[in-house]
């Protein structure tokens, strides 16, 4: 029988994580959180989350890194901004969710073949190559890497969209593609230089 401690000690918390979250862009006001719960109440996805937005705000600012980054809530957030409109303390909750998503991707806190980070990576790769997104190719690339079997189930819909002229094999591209690459490289260089 494996017995586990169910309560965390002060020393188990990660102060670096707590500091990081209150210094992310848009996250400065997390310390003002009243724990009123309007975010959870207005969130259309909170009923599927393991930690509701209210709890996630509290856990983050107190440095419960493991719990926060392995929470399903990060991936359920669709960035609909309902919480941000309701928050009486004007905390940028949606932007904090984005920050948590980035950190979870960086530190690989997600199950294998999980489609959301794959989608994000394929999306940014397509932007770098073409400057624009061609939806049909993006969907194809994501499913090939995560759930090939679901492509079969989608083929009926794909065909209908193709017939309606809403899906094409032709790739949308920016003309001056070199500009996009120069732009992205410049951001990477400045980030490195200023350690942002």
């Amino acid at each position: 029988m494996e017995l586990k401690r169910t309560i965390k000690f002060e020393a188990d918390r990660d102060p670096e994580f707590a500091r990081w979250i209150s210094h992310t862009v848009g996250g400065e006001r997390i310390r003002h959180c009243l724990q009123c719960g309007l975010c959870s109440a207005s969130c259309p996805l909170s009923l599927y989350m393991d930690y509701t937005p209210r709890r996630l705000m509290h856990l983050s600012r107190e440095g419960f890194k493991e719990e926060v980054l392995s929470s399903s809530s990060i991936w359920l957030c669709t960035a609909c901004y309902a919480c941000m409109v309701e928050c009486p303390k004007k905390i940028n909750i949606t932007h904090l969710m984005y920050a948590l998503k980035q950190r979870a991707i960086e530190e690989r806190f997600y199950p294998k073949r999980f489609p959301i980070p794959v989608m994000a990576q394929q999306f940014s790769r397509m932007v770098r190559d073409s400057g624009r997104i061609t939806e049909s190719w993006l969907i194809l690339r994501v499913f090939l890497r995560t759930a090939i079997w679901r492509l079969l189930g989608m083929s009926g819909l794909g065909w209908k969209l193709f017939v309606a002229g809403r899906m094409t094999a032709k790739k949308e591209k920016v003309e001056r593609r070199a500009e996009i690459r120069t732009l992205l490289d410049s951001v990477a260089a400045t980030r490195k230089e200023l350690a942002l």
């Binding site: 669709t78 989608m119 994000a120 809403r166 732009l183 942002l196």
Partner: protein, 291 residues
């Protein structure tokens, strides 16, 4: 006054009918637009989850291109509209972001000076043209057509100043000007799930189900949308979201398709045939011509 039209990627794919009908409405209302020169992807919600800093630079290239052409931007896609607005705010508020963006734009010979305004077609139609002028141009009133106005999340939240963030009414007023009857629709700003249908399908379907069921319950003949992703989700997955005991079936159109129809544009020019759930039977039942 001429505007820089920023279609975004979706309007060239699944949202083709949005672009076609929007351009038809621009023509009917004599709004002059020119496509933004060599525009790129705004980054949408997806790029934000990988690399926020880079996404601001990507969005800023479009802003700078519009400034160079001395035009304000019209962004019909909800994600584009939000991202461009957010980028403008964050460049204003955070010196680090401003520095990164300025340098990146400088590397490609562009400059951003915060002169451009990013606007949504709803805002332009309502505040630049006006309900009265639009009503005067209606040649085919949508008499008896009951519409559920669905705004989705990212148009009015969190930055739009042209409408209320909890109970927007701009689309309601435009559709009423076209002669349609707008039915009460409490879920008008509730999220459709975005790309959730692709990534976590069960949950995506739940969100879609509520939205369609509420519209049907309130007696709507069609749902009108302002966002390509909302339109896609509500139309393409409604059958799957329904059940044997509670089947779901309702045409989902862009508000510009309904406006275009009322303003006398042909079915072809507003992309009616691109719908997967046909609207023609509804129009015939209401005796609204659409040829």
């Amino acid at each position: 006054m001429k505007y820089a039209y920023y279609p975004g990627c979706s309007l060239r794919g699944t949202g083709r009918a949005y672009e076609e009908s929007l351009l038809a409405v621009f023509r009917a209302l004599q709004i002059e637009v020119e496509e933004l020169d060599d525009w790129n992807c705004c980054g949408a919600t997806t790029y934000m989850s990988v690399d926020e800093l880079t996404s601001y630079a990507l969005a800023a290239r479009n802003l700078a291109l519009a400034e160079r052409a001395h035009m304000d931007i019209i962004a019909p896609c909800a994600a584009c509209y939000l991202v461009l607005n957010k980028t403008q705010r964050y460049i204003r508020d955070y010196p680090d972001i401003k520095l990164v963006v300025t340098r990146a734009l400088d590397a490609i010979g562009l400059k951003y000076e915060d002169r451009v305004r990013v606007r949504h077609p709803l805002d332009i139609f309502l505040n630049e043209i006006g309900v009265k002028a639009i009503a005067a141009k209606v040649t085919r009133p949508l008499k008896g057509l009951k519409v559920a106005p669905y705004y989705g999340c990212q148009i009015v939240r969190p930055y739009a100043t042209f409408d209320d963030q909890r109970n927007p009414t701009s689309m309601d007023r435009l559709l009423e000007a076209c002669g349609a009857k707008v039915v009460p629709y409490l879920l008008k700003t509730r999220c459709c799930g975005g790309s959730q249908k692709g990534t976590l399908p069960d949950i995506g379907l739940h969100l879609i189900r509520y939205l369609i069921a509420e519209a049907q319950m309130n007696g709507a003949d069609v749902i009108a949308t302002v966002c390509p992703l909302c339109q896609f989700n509500l139309e393409c997955f409604q059958k799957e979201a329904g059940s044997e005991h509670h089947p779901l079936s309702i045409p989902v159109l862009y508000f510009t398709q309904l406006m275009g129809l009322a303003l006398g544009a042909s079915a072809e020019t507003i992309g009616l045939r691109r719908s997967l759930v046909p609207v023609e039977p509804v129009l015939e039942a209401k005796e609204i011509a659409y040829a």
